[in-house]
């Protein structure tokens, strides 16, 4: 039997406290409207969200794990990119 699967969708949900949408996981759905309905049923059952974004997985371009060295290692020895070289006045708190 020819069994076609629905496309995969990536689900992003913004929680009540959150300012940005967070990736929750993925699910199958026939189209974008159904993906939102499915996301509502799969990921917001315990009051998690106030807003849902769905993106078909094929539209996401991901970096390759094989390029890890060239992409991320060069940042390792550049500590001056962190703002840790300033002397903060004592009066300044919560930093």
């Amino acid at each position: 039997m020819d069994k076609k699967n629905w496309p995969l969708w990536e689900i992003f949900i913004r929680s009540k406290q959150g300012l940005s949408h967070k990736h929750m996981g993925s699910l199958h759905a026939a189209d974008e409207e159904m993906a939102i309905q499915n996301a509502r049923d799969v990921y917001t059952r315990r009051n998690e969200g106030v807003s849902i974004w769905v993106v078909e997985s094929k539209h996401i371009t991901a970096s390759s794990p094989a390029e890890k060295d060239s992409l991320y290692d060069p940042a390792n020895d550049k500590v001056y990119r962190h703002p840790t070289f300033y002397n903060l006045p004592d009066e300044l708190t919560h930093i």
Binding site: L27, D41, R45
Partner: protein, 249 residues
């Protein structure tokens, strides 16, 4: 007072029986996402049934509990519409049954929220949010199955044709309906009918489905004359309480 009890039981039994039907799909849905969607709806409906059974037990005043109402009554005491006891058969039947009921239930609860009876109005208001989503869910699926593949179109049309004869009684007033309308407690089904037809016509047209030309309507659910399906459903649903009375969570 007994007309009011009958009226509450009509609502409670609709929610309970349809909720139980949908719960049968738990673990058997066609796909994980739909398994969860359908059982979510089942939980909503069983929750509505609980509130209504609690109220029914209170109105009856015989010291019975919500569990007694759900699990210790026999089939002829159930007042749900015949539509909701119809078996799941396949996903098309499940969706068609849901849609035909939601298209009735949504305007029904909307009007019930204005009931003179405070408890029913409060239950209706709470349920309306859930029912709004149910209608959206079943409508979207009607459209996708109807306007989907040749096979999905044919299956949903078949389900629609077969279930159509059970839709008449939803819109036909029982004695309890008439009595409660007169007291300003119940909903005027004459106001629901045009809204139901409007919604059904709208969705069927988008779904490229034909409105069935079945004229003869099977009825009896509201007065306890049920199809054979209800007996089998209750046998499973009530087994535990019948075999081990008084069991609790």
């Amino acid at each position: 007072m007994s007309k009011k009890l009958d009226y509450i039981l009509q609502l409670a039994d609709n929610a309970m029986i349809l909720g139980h039907r949908l719960s049968e799909l738990c673990g058997h849905g066609p796909i994980l996402e739909q398994d969860m969607a359908v059982t979510n709806i089942a939980l909503d409906l069983i929750g509505q049934a609980r509130s209504l059974y609690q109220y029914a037990a209170e109105v009856e005043g015989q010291g019975r509990s919500e569990d007694d109402m759900a699990f210790m009554r026999d089939a002829w005491k159930f007042k749900n519409a015949l539509l909701v006891e119809y078996p799941n058969k396949d996903f098309a039947y499940t969706i068609a049954r849901q849609f035909l009921f939601d298209a009735y239930n949504y305007p029904f609860y909307k009007l019930l929220a204005e009931s003179k009876d405070q408890t029913l109005a409060a239950i209706a208001e709470k349920s309306l949010k859930e029912v709004t989503y149910h209608l959206r869910y079943s409508s979207e699926w009607m459209i996708r199955l109807g306007d989907g593949t040749e096979e999905s179109h044919q299956r949903i049309q078949t389900a629609l044709n077969e279930l159509w004869m059970y839709t008449g009684e939803l819109l036909e007033a029982s004695e309890a309906d008439t009595a409660m309308l007169a007291e300003g407690i119940g909903v005027d089904l004459a106001k629901i009918a045009p809204l139901w037809h409007q919604k059904v016509d709208e969705i069927l047209s988008i779904a490229t489905l034909e409105k069935p030309e079945v004229k003869w309507m099977q009825k009896g659910g509201k007065i306890g004359s049920h199809t054979e399906h209800l007996g089998f459903l209750l046998a499973e649903m009530q087994y535990l309480q019948r075999a081990y009375p008084g069991q609790e969570w």
